[in-house]
């Protein structure tokens, strides 16, 4: 039964889908709408999914949903106000001073990531958070693997440049 298949194969990846959407949109409410729309599409196109790639398949749908919304409301993606980071996981093992430094660093990294153009940001998110292979990222983003490589490299260079200006130097060693 397709709906049961949906619940069994798509819902387990809801966190990943939301995280990806959240980094695409840079806005929590917007990300919720994107994921909800994406799930409606996913339900409709469930038959096009191969068993082994439910997560990458869902990412692709999230991405398409995001871009169709963007094209409907031009420039929306960059005009959205930033939310405060609520989900940063504080490391309880750190003493207060270190934790403060870490929170500061997390905020800097988050800001640096959000400043990146979305094309660079999304490949970094898919690679670093979700551990997708270049091949999987290429399938989600629909570009050649070479483009994935160059976007990752350029995105990281930019990130490094921004963080070198703002982050405490010792965090980069």
């Amino acid at each position: 039964m397709p709906l049961r298949a949906f619940e069994e194969t798509v819902l387990p990846h809801l966190d990943a889908a939301f995280n990806y959407a959240r980094w695409l949109t840079k806005n929590s409410a917007e990300a919720e709408d994107v994921v909800q729309d994406a799930c409606v599409r996913a339900m409709r196109f469930l038959s096009s999914m191969r068993d082994d790639d439910a997560r990458a398949w869902l990412f692709a749908i999230v991405r398409n949903t995001f871009y169709s919304r963007v094209s409907r409301r031009a420039n929306m993606a960059e005009a959205i106000p930033l939310d405060s980071a609520k989900d940063a996981r504080p490391d309880v093992a750190l003493d207060p001073e270190e934790r403060l430094l870490q929170q500061h660093t997390v905020a800097l990294v988050r800001a640096a990531l959000e400043q990146l153009p979305v094309d660079f940001r999304e490949v970094i998110v898919l690679r670093e958070f979700e551990g997708l292979s270049y091949k999987e990222i290429a399938a989600v983003v629909r570009v050649p693997i070479g483009t994935v490589m160059s976007r990752l490299a350029r995105g990281r260079e930019r990130l490094m440049a921004v963080l070198k200006l703002t982050a405490p130097m010792e965090t980069l060693r």
Binding site: L3, F6, E7, L11, L14, D15, A17, F18, N19, R22, W23, S28, A31, E32, V35, Q36, C39, V40, M43, A85, K86, D87, A88, R89, Q102, T105, V106, V109, R110, L113, I124, R127, E128, F129, S133, Y134, M149, L152, A153, R156, L159, M160, L163, A167, T171, L172, R173
Partner: protein, 242 residues
């Protein structure tokens, strides 16, 4: 391998996307070149930093909304199924008192009916009152239920009544009448219909059991058995006519 090569392959190396031979070349170079070694270390540190950025988990309300969507989609489909079945029923002139539905019933009742049936067979709790006499079984329910189930003995056509039991289906107490056909047990669950629902009979199969449902004289009947469908239909028609 030169520094330029390593710089070019930096990301693929760190992402484990380099072929084994090239990766070994990179490692060899890193052992000798302090500048490249530093660059790789810096890049690794960047990776750790990025992964320390927030991972946004789906809020509970989103999960609830998505789940509600699938439930809604399911009920819309059910509605369409029923509509299609209704059209079929009408197009057949409504002459059949029973009609067959290959699709699932719209609510949880068939599931509960099968569950109760299976439970009654497994737990050796088939009867609360064991009797082949309808005049014993019927009064037994008095005071235990707020209605009086019609109890018929169909022994004359080969479906002897063997007992009765109090059961719970759909969160309500129901009368369970137990009939036998050779070695097959038939459970008939009887409860009053609260509102004036349209009388509709329905036959279906679930988990290897046949289920008949009909409403007669403001009483709802669910008959369930592993008996073959033809004989169960015969039984139900006889019961309805009695």
């Amino acid at each position: 391998m030169s520094c330029e090569h390593v710089e070019r392959d930096l990301d693929t190396y760190l992402d484990n996307e380099l072929d084994a031979a090239t990766a070994m070349d990179v490692r060899g170079h890193l052992n000798e070149c302090a500048a490249c070694h530093r660059r790789v270390a810096e890049r690794e540190a960047l990776g750790r930093l990025v992964r320390a950025a927030p991972y946004y988990s789906a809020p509970d309300r989103l999960r609830a909304r998505v789940l509600a969507q699938t439930t809604r989609a399911r009920s819309v489909r059910r509605l369409l199924t029923w509509a299609a079945a209704a059209v079929l029923f009408v197009s057949l002139g409504g002459g059949m008192s029973l009609w067959r539905s290959a699709v699932t019933h719209g609510d949880a009742m068939p599931d509960e009916v099968v569950d109760s049936h299976v439970r009654s067979l497994m737990a050796s709790h088939l009867f609360d009152v064991e009797s082949t006499d309808q005049h014993t079984v019927k009064p037994w329910f008095l005071g235990k239920l707020d209605f009086s189930p019609p109890v018929a003995d169909l022994a004359s056509i080969g479906f002897p009544l063997v007992g009765g039991r109090l059961d719970y289906i759909g969160g309500r107490p129901v009368a369970a009448l137990v009939y036998q056909r050779q070695r097959h047990t038939i459970n008939v669950f009887v409860s009053p219909v609260l509102n004036d629902v349209v009388t509709r009979a329905n036959v279906q199969s679930l988990r290897g059991f046949h289920i008949h449902h009909w409403v007669h004289d403001r009483m709802s009947f669910w008959a369930v058995s592993d008996l073959n469908e033809a004989e169960l239909t015969e039984f139900c028609k006889a019961l309805e006519a009695s």
